[in-house]
Amino acid sequence: MSSADSTEIEKSEDSSPVYEFEKSLSDSISKKFSNVEIAYVKQNRIRVNVKKEEIIDVASFIRDELHFDHAESVSGVDYPKDKQIEVVYHLGSYTDPLLSKQILALATRTQREDNPHPGNDSSKLPSLCDVFPSVSFHERECFEMLGVYFDGNPDNRRLLLPEDWADIPPLRKDFAIKGR
């Protein structure tokens, strides 16, 4: 473990713009899946954009082969211009000491509807709950905040918002705060 750490430090001391270890991780993903787009490779940070049909396969590959074992956060980002909602899973690893610095952002996009009916419209994504059990509450939050329904999540209920919330999901860009 200590040797792994020291190699990490050496690498970061290189201060070369190419981060080899991160690059090797992203290369192994893009080698396996041709449709996957590597958005950026920065120091300790990788971002991977995938199609929503492929996300479970990619996530399983990341878990089994690359040893990322938990999700740090699940963030939904609304892009009204593209008519899409992006969901970003930030994955990290506790078990593999080589990966303890790394955060892998796994992003996917789904369709956005102007008149949302959360749960009953086309804004749907396959849930990663079976791959990473740690995403369960994050996906619940994402569902109520952006209206993205996660197929396969056993618990797609309200979490933070009040029970009588009747407005559109509040983190969408067209939900305006009063007076702003």
């Binding site: 971002r47 740090e72 078990t95």
Partner: protein, 377 residues
């Protein structure tokens, strides 16, 4: 049972035994949340945490405010740990704006963050004590917390909501004789911390009460993505201060505390050991800190981030606290997600409470290092 029932209704034998208890939000043992419990006799058979009573939409608010005016708002979720919740934000914004923080500011940040971690943990420990019916363990930590609040007050000018960290350093330098006062009070604080052992941590009644309750195995702790003291109590050595050192944590001398048991007792002991470690860090940082120098970089009034995104995380009083900032060339962040440790530890709660006695609810619930206001954001 040949009883005639209206259509659609069934007699369920098992459910007759089961009582639903609403623990909270108006309950002395709940905090700002509700836990819906189903109990069979004295055993909890189902647990459904229901947070959201103090949801303030911090993430939505942040999208309307620029990178500087976000500061007082973002520390509201955990005012007791306000330096640590601003830490990843400042690191992230510094990366977005391409700022290099002065060396002295880095040390001041570490000192403020460690003091704040102790302030939070003392408050947390006090509530853990009162949840177990130990009123002395409520009064002592809350009283000793005053020592550190006094220091933070001298340092930042406010007792709880400091608004001390800004992108590019800290707001102000410390007053002239701060080092001596800090050293004296931190040493006394450490002495007081050690006095907790006799009355609380080595107390046989406490040990019999909390040992072996709510055991979270190492595999489950990893699988459920728990963090901070919960994770380290389950035997996973993962402290972001060590694993992904930010600012000057690399140069400071400290160790992480790991216990293997994974029960409520271990989870309550880790923050206490962390506080003792924090005292070491503060002393070390005071020694290694440059004696003078700039502490803040001047910023333009409304700085604009690039067209990129950052994810930064720090080790807060509860665990890894991450901020995901998406920027689109505007003074305001396009999206700001706060990945809070309380929320991540909450996932473990239904898992842990199932099958426990009702009397184990307070120690298991509060040992998760869960801060309801932070989880709701």
């Amino acid at each position: 049972m040949s009883q005639k029932l209206p259509p659609g209704l069934q007699l369920e034998k098992v459910d007759d035994r089961i009582m639903t208890l609403n623990v909270g939000p108006q309950h002395p043992g709940s905090g700002h949340m509700r836990i819906i419990l189903k109990i069979d006799g004295d055993y909890i058979v189902h647990c459904d945490p229901d947070p959201g009573y103090v949801h303030r939409g911090e993430e939505k608010m942040a999208e309307y405010r620029n990178y500087i005016t976000n500061i007082p708002h973002l520390e509201r979720p955990v005012i007791h740990d306000s330096c640590n919740i601003l830490y990843p934000y400042c690191l992230g914004v510094e990366e977005l704006l391409g700022l290099e923080v002065p060396e002295r500011a880095k040390y001041l940040r570490v000192i403020a963050a460690e003091l704040n971690r102790c302030v939070y943990t003392e408050y947390w420990l006090g509530i853990y004590g009162i949840f177990l019916g130990h009123s002395t363990m409520f009064m002592w930590p809350v009283g000793d917390r005053e020592l550190l609040i006094d220091l933070l007050d001298k340092m930042t000018g406010a007792r709880v909501t400091h608004a001390y960290f800004v992108p590019g350093g800290v707001r102000n330098d410390v007053p002239p004789n701060f080092e001596d006062v800090c050293l004296r009070q931190v040493n006394y604080f450490e002495k007081r911390l050690k006095e907790y052992a006799d009355i609380f941590y080595d107390n046989p009644i406490l040990i019999s009460r909390t040992k072996g309750t709510g055991v979270l195995s190492r595999e489950d702790a990893i699988k459920l993505g728990t963090t901070g003291s919960v994770l380290r109590a389950s035997g996973v050595d993962f402290d972001i201060r060590k694993k992904e050192p930010y600012d000057v944590y690399e140069e400071l001398d400290f160790q992480t505390n790991v216990l293997k048991e994974g029960d409520s007792y271990a989870r309550s002991k880790i923050p206490w050991l962390d506080m003792l470690e924090s005292c070491r860090i503060i002393r070390d940082a005071l020694q290694k800190m440059p004696k003078s120098g700039s502490v803040r970089i001047k910023l333009k009034p409304k700085p604009k981030g690039g067209d990129t995104e950052v994810y930064h995380r720090v080790e807060s009083g509860r665990g890894s606290l991450g901020m995901y900032i998406v920027s689109n060339n505007k003074p305001e962040p396009y999206r700001l997600k706060i990945s809070v440790p309380s929320f991540r530890n909450l996932i473990a709660m239904p898992h842990l409470l199932k099958g426990e006695l009702l009397g184990n609810l307070p120690p298991v619930y509060w040992s998760l290092n869960y801060w309801p206001v932070e989880a709701d954001r």
